[in-house]
Symmetry: C2
Subunit: 689 residues, 2 copies
């Protein structure tokens, strides 16, 4: 009724004007609305459609012209057929797709515009001041070699000039420790020089993935110069040869302009040794027939030789027996590296090989892992290593435990295996490829350093105190981090220093005094400070006190205390040689050096007990284990201090995301993402060059 | 008035129900609308707002629930403040962004789901039938070597079985020609075997970009096995040594299981030689001190040694003079490869070096191009090569024209230069890097083939007829394409065959007969068919006829005709040794082989004149030049038969898109795009390993 009248009025008013169209419809709309509302009697709360109708109507009238039509259409354009749901749905989807395409296109254009700005048109050659000393360094030191006091880029810019005369911090190596240190360091505090034979940081945990093309080589490495640049440091692609502690000189060598080796000195005020480790040959013969997996170039070589074997296996002249040999891949060492390589290799053979190579190959392939212990991944929780073993069994990867490699011949590997009843039998596997990944040992450089000090007794690594200072070297001069170093757990050796203050208070000789429970608590506090790792073993002080107070005198004498402490020593295990530890040590040193730089000016005024600067400004290094994880072939395992879990694809994604997060730079993250997508889209390319 | 009444009515009707809210607003909407309409009196055409108001109202009521709220909001939700344009704009933008993010997120999830499906859980080991002959091939041939009649994957699947006994097509090489042929070939027509020492196809035009890291190595190569798979072919990573034409056997060699070279035969029915070429030493001494740029591994070596030089230049022990030498890069050869390398190298040094290396280096860098001709890029239009030269001059790249390299010493390069007044002076440049890219010459394999036939007189390449058949080899057995081959332009030699039909019709001896103008036109037609390249020179038949009808007899005698044809020969130039030509030849062969396979059954019935199967089923090869282009350092030049243009960044984008389009596979296209983005975001990484 209302609608009819409205229509009537309008028709009288202006027959041909827009109102004529306007009126008869609008009320009908209302009519329909009201009918709807009466029929299902909705709450007033959500009954605001007519208002929004007005609004949207207004919108169209005022919709800015600059918006692309697509947007106007999504918002308010009438639908081709208001009746059909499908049409509406299609219409919406099209509009949404339109928006998506439009925005994507916009972004693409924006990127191209950005790209266009990244090309440098004009050669920028400006005059650079270079100090004479940088061009012709003075000679000196025990061997009278050139001494690089200054570098050619010391005067490149004001920032460089500013730090030209700051204390010289020399970092040997570009591994996890060094990079963590560099990223932690405040720019401008030190004149930093990084020395390493490789000009990149390698993201070691994912190295096995690069051996078969799951990841590309360059996605795992980051140019070290980019990282050094942050602290305005200098990089020398050279190798550390020796250290003259008395004169604070590092002797380094590098291939000169004509390829011949050149030696020179780099002076330091603080030296950080992070040169890592080398593969441990375990005195096995024939390692020249093995591949190793320490550096990125190793990954390339492995990838090439794996594919070479596949190609050779396809030749008509290759006998069946030879083919089986070529396709027998042996991994010696059941640690994370070996296991992950085996897993990656298996994935490649299982997923990509069949696509392009004769199916026969797939049948004749065998992967063997030779492990000296009774389980692979023996540093992990036993349940996990068993999970891994069952996993490999399902993938028909042959796990040989309790086996020691005797010799590696060009075409086969000999090893001795201990069976259940302890009998040792020597076996051999014909093989076309062997990876040697059985632990690490000390570099010659580290051996040379260790030989200079009597208190360096660890055959495997440089010993440092809990402040990561090289034991024996002048205090606060030389630090060692990462795989090349180990932290001493000699609590009992420091008993006297712990008792010193106490003795001083009581005016007694430490050796003679008796320690009451309250004294003991003080000592324990000191021990925890100095040896954070010992804290776990110093929880129940009363129990300990009771246990070692043999004569129940209510006090501990010197002997009893020493016994207590040495018993704690025995409980302390040495830290694992992992990227994680190196990273934490690097961060620790970075923070400490920042502190020292801050404190330096005021230091002279400070009263520091027993002049230990490091101890005064910063706490001792404490290792926090964040757990370990490993990839085991379309599955991954996670271990956090015994509590761990393993799983399939989801675990793999988790494993990836952990490393994705830990990855060193935005660049590497992008590349990792690209590589993973690549694998999904195109598989691993089986080319070798 | 209307609105007021409507409101009044409603208020009476149901004070508290939603209609109470509904009515008083809607009519006001109408009121406002009509007021608007009267004020600006718009045309009825675009006055449909109330209707759409009703529609949108309906929409909201019927909007499917599964749509995310964001979409509902964009479409119809009322705006926070209908008055403010800014608010509306922000609101819209937010909504659009929301849609974009939502869709992107959806796509990402979809990709992950897809990714999850690409991992193969279970080892798929099925029993594969392999014929005894494939495992133990028979011996035979002149050298009594194993003959690979069958392969281990001949029985892999039904498709393979089906083509097991089809005619054997053996393709030597995996370059442009071979790949174009493989992509053109119908699967199932031939038993295809591809033999090459490299298991990848290299996208040669962009190789220079890979030498400095603008592109990554693997973005330029495509696994050949993927391409061969399409035609169910076989690939052998081996090297062609020789061909026994009489017994239809290719002798190939490959490193065996223990690395020693093994020789064997591969039988063929049709053989395609596309082995390419080798670098031309031009008898210059000391090329062992040079780098070459033929294969992808060369690019890797170049990249490494360039960066090695940069690193060495930073050492404090490197003297100023030595530094300048290390940073002097010499390119010998001003062809496209040399020029593009120089351009890429310069870009890298100009754009990325300064970011990470001491500024001093930038000042001491020099790039030299030694060109024997008077201009670089002398195959291009002169204006373009001059454009390129000015471009390089602006980039302070040193172009040395009219210069011939005499000798390359480890630390310097000696060359003789002819100055304006033709005087030749010998100069030398101290250099730390030299690229040798001065044309190509024949491989030993091709030399060996050519030596077998008297009519192979071309020192630089294998001669073929216009059907790309190796001249001298049994007709229809052996074809040669790409850089290793050249097409004969010996029109006059075929004069008899042209006249044969004519002579047969007239029952005369060709040598004696006189050719009228109409006859001549017939002959000319024949010539065009047989030598498509000659068509250009056979446009004005009457003119030619007149010119060579010396005695104005109105007819040509044999001698006059021969003279005419040989004059055409002289005008025909040999085809350029480019990827473009190889590609067209490959496509041509592919199409022809498809035809032959179709025609084969009916062939016996067909009446073919002078039993030339190829000629009968398919036209002769005609090269269509699509122009050439070159990158010259943040600029590019395009040349299409003389008409060409050069330009800056836009031209570079065009240059890229051309190659992007030509790129061999979806995979390589993705990788190229990734690499270009990478360069824009992170620059080229200056690492060598």
């Amino acid at each position: 009724m209302l609608s009819r009248r409205a229509g009537f009025v309008s028709r009288i008013a202006t027959p041909s004007s827009r109102t004529a169209l306007l009126y008869p419809r609008a009320p009908r709309a209302l009519g329909s609305q009201s009918r709807v509302s009466f029929s299902n009697g909705r709450l007033p709360g959500n009954s605001r459609r007519p208002e929004l109708a007005r609004l949207t109507a207004l919108q169209t009238s005022r919709l800015p012209k600059q918006w692309p039509p697509i947007l106007r259409s999504v918002s308010t354009k009438p639908l081709p057929a208001p009746t059909s749901r499908v049409v509406r749905f299609v219409w919406r989807s099209a509009a949404i797709l339109g928006i998506f395409v439009a925005v994507s296109g916009g972004l693409l254009v924006a990127f191209f515009i950005y790209d266009a700005t990244t090309y440098r048109e004009d050669p920028a050659v400006t005059d650079i001041p270079v100090s004479e000393l940088a061009l012709n360094p003075r000679r000196g030191g025990p061997k009278n070699l050139p001494i690089a006091d200054y570098f050619v880029d010391d005067d490149d810019c004001s920032e460089n000039k500013a730090i030209k005369h700051k204390p010289k911090l020399v970092i040997l190596g570009t591994g996890w420790g060094s990079v963590a240190l560099l990223k932690q360091l405040h720019p401008g505090d030190y004149h930093v020089t990084v020395i390493s034979p490789s000009n990149h940081f390698l993201f070691t945990p994912m190295l096995p993935s690069a051996t078969v093309g799951t990841l590309e080589l360059r996605s795992l490495v980051e140019p070290i110069r980019g990282i050094v640049k942050r602290v305005r440091g200098h990089f020398l692609k050279a190798m550390a040869e020796d250290v003259e502690f008395s004169e604070k000189l590092v002797e380094v060598s590098a291939p000169g302009p004509n390829g011949e080796k050149q030696h020179f000195y780099v002076p330091y005020d603080k030296l950080v040794v992070g040169v890592g480790s080398v593969t441990n040959p375990h005195g096995v013969k024939g390692l020249e027939n093995c591949h190793f997996l320490k550096d990125i170039s190793d990954a390339r070589l492995i990838r090439n030789s794996v594919i070479r074997n596949l190609e050779t296996a396809c030749l008509p002249t290759t006998s069946d027996e030879e083919r089986r040999r070529l396709l027998s891949f042996v991994v010696s060492g059941g640690g994370p590296t070996g296991v992950e390589f085996a897993a990656e290799l298996y994935d490649m053979l299982n997923e990509d090989l069949c696509k392009y190579f004769p199916k026969l190959l797939r049948n004749e392939i065998s992967v063997h892992v030779i492990q000296s212990r009774s389980h692979i991944l023996n540093t992990y929780d036993e349940a996990l290593s068993q999970y891994a073993e069952t996993r490999f069994a399902h993938d028909s990867v042959d796990i040989l435990t309790n086996s020691r490699v005797q010799e590696v011949k060009p075409d086969r590997i000999l090893f001795s295996q201990k069976d259940e009843d302890g009998k040792v039998v020597t076996k051999e596997i014909p093989m076309g490829f062997c990876l040697w990944s059985t632990g690490v040992s000390q570099t010659d450089f580290c051996k040379r350093l260790a030989a200079k000090f009597d208190n360096q007794n660890n055959r495997h690594a440089l010993e440092t105190d809990t402040h990561l200072r090289l034991a024996g070297a002048p205090l606060g001069d030389v630090y060692a981090i990462g795989d090349c170093a180990t932290v001493q757990n000699n609590v009992s050796d420091h008993i006297v220093s712990f008792l010193r203050t106490l003795a001083w208070e009581k005016g007694k000789d430490p050796e003679q005094m008796h320690i009451s429970y309250s004294d003991w608590r003080g000592v324990a506090k000191r021990v925890k400070q100095r040896f954070p790792q010992a804290a776990d073993h110093l929880r129940r002080l009363d129990k300990l006190f009771g246990a070692y107070d043999k004569d129940n005198s209510g006090t501990l004498d010197f002997g009893e205390l020493r016994e207590l402490l040495s018993q704690i020593d025995s409980k302390l295990t040495s830290l694992p040689a992992t990227a994680q530890r190196a990273h934490q040590q690097g961060q620790y040193l970075g923070r400490k050096f920042n502190r020292i730089a801050q404190a330096a000016p005021g230091m002279t005024l400070n009263q520091v007990d027993y002049g230990d600067l490091d101890d005064a400004v910063y706490k001792a290094f404490e290792y926090k284990h964040l757990g370990s994880l490993a990839y085991i072939g379309n599955a991954a395992i996670f271990d956090y201090n015994g509590r761990g879990f393993g799983g399939g694809l989801l675990a793999v994604y988790l494993w990836r995301s952990v490393y994705f997060a830990q990855s060193v730079s935005f660049r590497t993250r992008c590349l990792l993402a690209m590589d993973w997508s690549k694998r999904a889209l195109f598989g691993r390319d089986l080319m070798n060059f």
